[in-house]
């Protein structure tokens, strides 16, 4: 009984506007005297003049404030003349990446084999690249880069390629370059981590001779091409059938609170026609080598025919997140997941970075990795560890002295390698990473 009155009151309130409309129609009230409820509007709708239509939203990378160092970095452009019909720009480019690691890997005791500790204290020049880029005919970018770091079989021409715009949005890339496989594979792009994730280093192809066609749309981009699969520190040749590459991505920009969020979904697929004979998939050769955990012989180098990477990258203000699912199938099978959040603690100066990596396989010894200053077996494969399950937790902070082009980085990584399908030489590693990176 007590509930009836409040319900009746609410019911009358909701009908008030309808009654006023009837009064206006019947001439009892002036339309101008009726108070209308406020129009509900959400960001991006036509009802709000203060917001931009959803389809008009674009995501602009936050700009860097002017810095005295701009003058130094701008000297990398040696020549620039947009009016010149033949040559519009000549610039030099380079990356210097120094990494140090302090830690150890503890290998479990198995049977008569005692537990073992592998020291991971080391410092290396991880990358030392010098190159040049030219823009010619207003539609062609030529790039050349030489790697000066690493062993003899790693040093050499890292990139020698051209990129020509055929029509607005469509272009072709040719020469020696690295195929796109996961967002991490762009080796020249800034990465807030000491190295790429273990599974990317294990699966992603190295630079090879190839040709790729790219089409960029308003939100959908795609590319496809062929690579010879040959690996060489100079110019690769054509020996086998090579591999086919397909890249597909879609970008969504949508309002999120008072800012704009960009989400990019990607799907990268590589079909290796040469199987185990390919020199680019994988980029290393461990056949006949023995692991640091349990001295286990790797009789056969991992070989993959199908490589898939799919995931999303989200950018919103000071926060970014990348999630990437990878899968490799061939003579052996490997899969994994990488989750990489970053946050600008002091925008532009201090960035907190985290990364969780998981990799798994049903076969013994199908996962291989190095630990310490590099997880790239192509750069240095000694000592390497093998297993069938891999976990890595990384948490660090980077200090940006000049934009993304002069950074100091430091972080802690905990690695767990399980060898349950093999001889059970499980490995735990704790590593403190530090490094410095300069690029121009």
């Amino acid at each position: 009984m007590n509930l009836i009155r409040p319900l009746l009151f609410v019911s009358l309130l909701s009908q008030a506007h309808a009654n006023e409309a009837l009064d206006v129609l019947e001439g009892k009230k002036n339309a101008a005297d009726v108070r209308l409820p406020p129009v509900e509007s959400s960001p991006g709708t036509a009802g709000s003049e203060e917001t931009v239509a959803r389809e008009d939203l674009i995501y602009l990378e936050p700009e860097w404030t002017p810095s005295p160092a701009d003058l130094i970095w701008s000297r990398a452009i040696l020549f620039e003349d947009a009016a010149n019909p033949w040559l519009q720009q000549i610039a030099i480019s380079g990356i210097f990446d120094w990494q140090a690691s302090y830690g150890s890997a503890d290998v479990a005791a198995v049977g008569d084999t005692a537990a073992k500790t592998v020291e991971l204290d080391n410092s290396r020049t991880r990358r030392a690249r010098l190159g040049a880029r030219l823009r010619t005919f207003r539609n062609t970018d030529l790039e050349a880069s030489v790697e000066l770091a690493g062993a003899d079989n790693y040093r050499g021409i890292e990139k020698l390629s051209g990129h020509t715009e055929i029509t607005p949005g469509s272009s072709v890339q040719y020469g020696k370059f690295r195929p796109t496989f996961s967002p991490e594979s762009g080796d020249d792009a800034y990465s807030p981590y000491p190295d790429r994730s273990m599974l990317t280093n294990m699966l992603a192809p190295g630079p090879s001779l190839g040709v790729m066609f790219h089409q960029s749309g308003k939100s959908l981009d795609y590319g496809f091409g062929w690579f010879s699969g040959d690996a060489s520190t100079e110019i690769p040749g054509i020996e086998g059938n090579g591999f086919l590459a397909l890249n597909l991505s879609r970008t969504f920009v949508e309002p999120s609170g008072k800012s704009v969020m960009r989400t990019r979904w990607h799907l990268d697929y590589i079909h290796n026609l040469d199987g185990a004979d390919s020199e680019s998939i994988p980029r290393y050769n461990l056949a006949g080598r023995r692991s640091a955990n349990g001295n286990q012989l790797l009789a056969q180098n991992p070989a993959f025919r199908h490589l898939v990477s799919t995931g999303i990258t989200i950018d919103q203000g000071d926060f970014s997140f990348a999630g990437d699912l990878k899968f490799g199938k061939g003579d052996s099978t490997a899969w994994g997941l990488t989750l990489s959040p970053t946050y600008w603690l002091i925008p532009g100066t201090v960035q907190l970075v985290g990364r969780y990596e998981y990799a798994g396989s049903n076969e013994a010894g199908s996962l291989v990795s190095t630990l310490g200053t590099s997880s790239d077996l192509a750069f240095d494969d000694s000592p390497f560890f093998l297993g069938d399950e891999f976990h890595s937790f990384y948490l660090g902070a980077n200090l940006h002295l000049y934009q993304n082009q002069m950074t100091l980085m430091s972080g802690f990584e905990q690695v767990i390698i399980k060898d349950q399908q093999g001889e059970q030489f499980d490995t735990d590693a704790a590593i403190w990473h530090t490094g410095a990176r300069v690029s121009f």
Binding site: E50, T51, V52, D56, L57, I58, Y59, L60, E61, P62, E63, W64, T65, P66, S67, P68, A69, D70, W73, S74, V253, P255, S259, V260, G317, D318, W344, P347, G348, T349, L399, H400, L401, Y402, Q403
Partner: protein
């Protein structure tokens, strides 16, 4: 007959020269740090670097002046802006129309043409020196047009600024005290518009 035509032609010629509007390109460039060899002026304004190209001056058969120039906001790290300012001035030197078009990255903006509002009762004075002698009004039509232009410009800029978070400052930038939060493109363009109008004479 011939004697009657001569005074008429003379009067017409005098009247046409009396309303001939012109633009002092050199004086305009001098206010922007001077024209360089490539006929552009590079200068800093409100903590951003700009490049203004030598204006193009053209006349219609009726003596209307069309004045246009390109203003680039230079940015080493990010995407710069390229904007075109177009002014239309009557033979008497009165601003009749103004428009800004531009591109930032791959996105374009356009304020649309701002026309002079309905003529007031008193004749509109010429821009420049004659501005000070104008009768007291609550709002000068030229100022009204410029205000409207930048209201529309700021509205167009929303499509860019809504996606732009705060600027990022690296350590060197912070230590040098050059921690600019935003470069005001609108202010840079307004400065150019004001200088262009100040260098119009008749």
């Amino acid at each position: 007959m011939k004697t009657s035509i001569i005074p008429l032609l003379t009067a017409l010629a005098l009247s046409s020269t009396a309303f001939a509007v012109s633009f002092d390109t050199e004086a305009f460039g001098a206010r922007l740090n001077g024209w360089r060899k490539d006929r552009t002026a590079v200068y800093s304004f409100t903590d951003a670097k700009y490049r203004t190209h030598t204006p193009t001056v053209s006349y219609s058969p009726t003596g209307t002046l069309f004045l246009s120039t390109q203003v680039d906001m230079l940015s080493i790290a990010g995407k710069g802006a390229i904007c075109q300012i177009g002014l239309t001035l009557s033979p008497a030197g009165v601003l009749e129309g103004i428009q800004i078009k531009g591109t930032i990255g791959s996105k374009s903006l356009d304020t649309g043409l701002i026309r002079r509002p309905d003529a007031p009762a008193a004749a509109a004075p010429a821009e420049g020196a004659a501005e000070g002698a104008a009768p007291v009004r609550r709002l000068n039509p030229t100022d009204e047009m410029i205000t409207e232009l930048f209201v529309r410009f700021d509205s167009e800029m929303k499509k860019f600024t809504e996606g732009k978070e705060a600027f990022r400052s690296d350590l060197i930038s912070r230590m040098s005290g050059n921690n600019v939060k935003s470069a005001d493109l609108s202010a840079g363009l307004r400065h150019n518009v004001n200088l262009m109008l100040q260098n119009v004479s008749r």
